[in-house]
Subunit: 353 residues, 2 copies
């Protein structure tokens, strides 16, 4: 922040400017020649969480994945109303395959944007950038942040917010936020899922992969992801990383500060003993994790509280899972649920209370 301690951008409304990646829908979900559904998590996530954005699937010879959507070629999909081809699979190395070039160019020439969360920049696919310019469509690498992100203002903004936080990465924060947004809307609450990771951005059709922004702008990006809204509106914000992660805690804290969350949902895996891929780091228990999250959140929202626990009980049998949920609820004195296993109604009530 050297030389950058000047005032944040003036903004009479008190709200951060709305800057975000935005995707056109509906999507043609591209599955390539992927043989394994395990490598098509993005496509299945889109089908399950944004069905209204998913028009059709495009499978190449040898593809063993089926989303149960109509199979359409790019031109037919465009004629049926598709606006973007979304790469829904993750091949080895997370790279765009050379065998895809022809079909991606065909999609561009049919008037479809191309949306990718893979590491290979779409601009690097031979001829694709030129074809996109000629066709007037966009090549969207969803991990690339918007330009000109602002620094966080720290000013309180209207609307209410709940953020999923966790004791580690990869234990269900995105799924928790999606399930809560759906349950809150089902309960008649004006709620939106707010995406902070690449798959979430594809599901929501907007958002920012916050771990890809420049460090000075983490909290500012979070203010853009969940901007000022109507007083009774709820943003349900996808969390990232963990405050107790030796590599990613900076991202988590910046997101926590920029989110200005009223309510936190603490996500935890009761059988995980060490951080995934960081075996030197034990996973904190719920009680040891809750305090630091609330203390940090109160810097930008003095009313912040832990409203619920979300447990990933996928490794447990039913009886053990229910016992773990009871234990978690008793430990923190808030409702606990597993979005894959138990209803969200008591958690929603706790968030709204």
């Amino acid at each position: 922040m050297e030389g950058t301690t000047g005032a944040p951008a003036a903004d009479d409304s008190g709200a951060a400017p709305v800057r975000s990646v935005r995707l056109r829908a509906p999507y043609l979900l591209f599955l390539g020649e992927e043989a394994s559904p395990l490598k098509a998590k993005t496509a299945f996530g889109l089908r399950d969480w944004a069905p209204e954005r998913c028009l059709a699937q495009l499978r190449m010879p040898g593809c063993g994945v089926d989303l149960g959507l109509p199979d359409l070629a790019p031109r037919a999909a465009a004629q049926a109303g598709a606006r973007a081809l979304v790469i829904g699979v993750t091949p080895p190395g997370g790279r765009i395959q050379t065998g895809w070039t022809a079909v991606l160019r065909e999609a561009v020439e049919a008037g479809l944007d191309i949306v990718s969360g893979l590491h290979t920049p779409l601009e690097s696919v031979p001829g694709l950038a030129e074809a996109a310019r000629a066709a007037g469509v966009a090549l969207v690498d969803v991990r690339r942040p918007p330009d000109d992100l602002p620094r966080a203002t720290g000013r309180r903004r209207s609307g209410r917010r709940v953020l999923a936080v966790g004791t580690d990465c990869a234990l269900g924060k995105k799924y928790t936020a999606l399930a809560l947004a759906r349950a809150m809307r089902g309960a008649g609450v004006d709620a939106d899922f707010r995406a902070t990771g690449q798959t979430g951005v594809m599901i929501a059709g907007r958002g920012i992969a916050i771990d890809a922004v420049v460090a000075d702008f983490i909290a500012g990006a979070a203010e853009c992801i969940a901007p000022a809204a109507a007083p009774e509106h709820w943003d349900v914000i996808e969390g990232q990383g963990s405050l107790f992660h030796p590599a990613y805690a900076g991202v988590t804290l910046g997101l926590l500060h920029g989110a200005q969350a009223d309510a936190l949902v603490l996500c935890h895996d009761p059988v995980r003993r060490h951080l995934v891929s960081w075996p030197d780091y034990p996973v904190r228990g719920l009680r040891d994790a809750a305090g630091p999250y609330v203390e940090a959140a109160r810097l930008t929202n003095p009313g912040a509280r832990i409203a619920a626990v979300s447990l990933n009980t996928s490794a447990l049998a039913e009886a053990d899972a229910l016992q773990a949920l009871d234990d978690a609820a008793r430990t923190l004195g808030v409702p606990a649920f597993d979005p894959l296993r138990t209803p969200a109604d008591r958690v929603v009530a706790s968030i709204l209370s």
Copy 2:
């Protein structure tokens, strides 16, 4: 960190790879036509803190600043041994002035690298990139991080480290680290200043402007800035931001985790009531600030402790300053100093103890 929870890069030594911006010395300090010494803080900082790296100054007509160094034109400076021209002034808007183009090209043609911390990319100066390629010299924007920074491993590494932390930005963390490194070397300790901001990088001749790295790599960059070293070696690491800053705390926490500091020196301004440019945010007192810093630091170094306080007493008369230092020392039970006003010996002893 989505899709990035895989193991950090394998590294048998347990040390992070040494990745850093590196600058060739000695420098020709470029002062342009700057009229005010206040706009030449970078040049004065280099003269005061890295005299062995400063060979000469280059002043254009109208320049009202004098560093007391010989005035040399680029070719004469190169013949005298200079390796780089360093832009030592900050003109309005932090931009490279169009009137500088000719002299910057002259420096490149004389075989000097160009080093800049301004916002204008050196590559954008007309003809400069081509001239640099032809002359085989480097254009170094010190705010641009090295490529391929690793994610933090979180693995303990050899050597000892002290990090300057603070209750706000812009209250003397860089100056504190520089003064401590100098005092420790004066006491016969094998110590190096480690830079995390652009001016610090110019002074040290290496380092990373950590607020400019991608969010996922903040702690990883800190591991590179202060890599594994001899067991008795001390890195004195420049701090950034504040754990209690609504815009920058993510940078501060990632740096704190990656630094794996044994000792923290808490920097504070006893008369500052609110964060600079963030008037909604009061400055924390020393006692309220110390606990969260130590708790966060202990994630990656369980032995982390507050070793001293550094007070910026520039706004106080001598007697009030000494009283403020006494109060601060009593509050935290550690030595307190003002590097501009009082000796560092007791602080150094506390860090080494």
